[in-house]
Symmetry: none
Subunit: 190 residues, 4 copies
DNA sequence: AATGAATGAGCCTTCATTCAT
DNA sequence: GATGAATGAAGGCTCATTCAT
């Protein structure tokens, strides 16, 4: 069983993995296709058999890892904006982030490089949709900021708290707690 | 007198200005010296009269704009960690950021690119020092996260709140309010 | 019977057709096997089942379409060089060209590319043989030029008179008339 | 004297010379910048100091060598279309071609490659302008063809008569004679 | 204080071709 | 009769940097 599917080599997947790893480590611009190819012990041309351009590699990774997030947004937009719901949204978002941590770390750290890589928009769009669900455009500015901050706190927990003591999961939960708190405050002022 | 000295710094300063502008706009890697030179209507070689390398331009900008921050850190480290002091620190930090907004926007968006540019460290060091002053290593994790969040909220206010209504200064103050709040909570739990 | 043989040549023939079309349209060098394969909705590798190299595709097209011309040359060389014969030769040549117009257009426009593609010689050889039949090596230079011109006028009529009014066949006949005229003059001076 | 102008090296000119030589010899597509650079014993990058793209090299050569032709067209368009004038035009055209023989040989042999190299148009435009001066749109088709033929005969004399005996200048004049003849016939029928 | 000329390394991409299946 | 996967070579181009002037 499965032998048939096996026929297709896993090169495509391996390219995506290595690419994400290197992109996250060194940035998109500074990672050359030569590097990716060498790491995989194939030629650069092989990459082009599987992907049309360098950007395409990134896009494919993005699309593969971004599914859960899309679902989350879709789900969120259909819900009533109760406090309990918002908390749940943050919980799920934190988990989704956790799933694709390297990708999000990459997105966060390469905003400049992504600015004109169509994909930049895709990312921004998602975050915006999420924000739209959390915050109330008519609320006082500080409360709106709280919502943005909540989201960023979750992002940051993926890669910015290395210097704090404690293991990764502990820190993720701490960040979630803070985010929930921020959103709660924003919600209650309303 | 003075005209002579004035002349001397003129081009150098213009290089820094244009470089920062372009770096912030397009990212460090994607901005070429050719581009900078063209914008200034001088040759690339002229840049090398004033700076030893591309990175040097960035460093010089950083150092020029970062002075107030260094003073802030120095001042902060000498203070007693009362709540009032921490609030003041945030206030001053927000102002310092405001002064050199494009630089900080750049720093935030080019973390990947900066990773192996000695300067990356410089930036991290400053933020760390500041964090060291604000937070208590022995506090519960969520409270430590609150302090990190506070700082990031201030950073974010420099470039991430474009989509919110309200003018820049309003938003800066809102962010400051949220940051103060976060730090206050962290402080009071202690 | 026959259906089997039919099938066999099918793809091969289609490759030749598409290849000629693209070669004529964009030139030999600028037409890639990928392009040909895509147009046919097969893989590049399939082309290699039918032909050994890219050049082989061109050669095969050439040989398929060039038969009538070879016969013409053979016939011509056996004839006595009367004026009437020469006129007939031009008439037949014009028709032969007409039959394989895209090929000749291609040959005309890709001389440079063909120079080191063994096939270039084949083409030149044919034209030369024809010229040998038409012109007299001992005639005054201008008359020899007339014969060359006659041939080129026929070639040109295949693709260069687009800008003139009139339909294709009309123009072909006009070119034939001019060619006949040129050869007649050359002949009569002798 | 002259020492100052001498400062500017002649590299730019040498690039143009070598490029034209190679383009004419092997065709545009098949000539790589590496080849040009090697022949000149400079690096590829040096070519890019002097020209923005490969096509730019070709364009610059074209523009340098094409001046006399432009003047000819301009002059021609201002003249009355007497037979004597047309003869004179052909004479001058033949000389202009002679001046830039390799370029025209190149143009003739690389039509396919030039088709999408903006420059192709430039060339066609010139020939068309010339044709517009020579031929009468209302004349019988064969006479129009004669004018086209006349021009092509001159072109051909630049590179296609190698196989005929006689030296280059002799052949050029023979071709001119034939061209004059063709145009004369066309003119007199009117 | 700045330029003109050039370099060496490297980049992304495309190509014709091969071969096991 | 054709495909999927891959290769080696090369192509055009850009970049940070150097240095004599």
């Amino acid at each position: 069983m499965g032998t048939h599917t096996q026929r297709r080599t896993d090169t495509r997947q391996r390219i995506q993995d290595v690419a994400l790893e290197l992109f996250a480590e060194q940035g998109y611009e500074k990672t050359s296709l030569r590097e990716i190819a060498e790491r995989l012990e194939v030629t650069k041309a092989a990459l082009y058999y599987h992907f049309k351009t360098k950007e395409d590699i990134l896009i494919s990774v993005f699309q593969d890892l971004t599914g859960p997030l899309d679902e989350l947004v879709a789900w969120g937009e259909a819900q009533e904006r109760t406090l309990e719901f918002k908390k749940e949204l943050l919980r799920r978002y934190s988990e989704a982030l956790n799933q694709a941590a390297p990708l999000f770390r990459f997105m966060q750290e390469n905003q400049a490089a992504l600015r004109d890589l169509k994909i930049g928009e895709l990312f921004k769009d998602r975050v915006h949709a999420l924000l739209g669900v959390l915050k109330d455009d008519t609320a006082p500015l500080p409360d709106q900021v709280r919502c943005v901050s909540a989201l960023f706190t979750l992002h940051a927990s993926m890669f910015l708290l290395k210097d704090l003591d404690g293991d990764f999961e502990e820190k993720r939960l701490a960040a979630l707690e803070v985010a929930v708190d921020l959103v709660t405050q924003a919600h209650q002022h309303a």
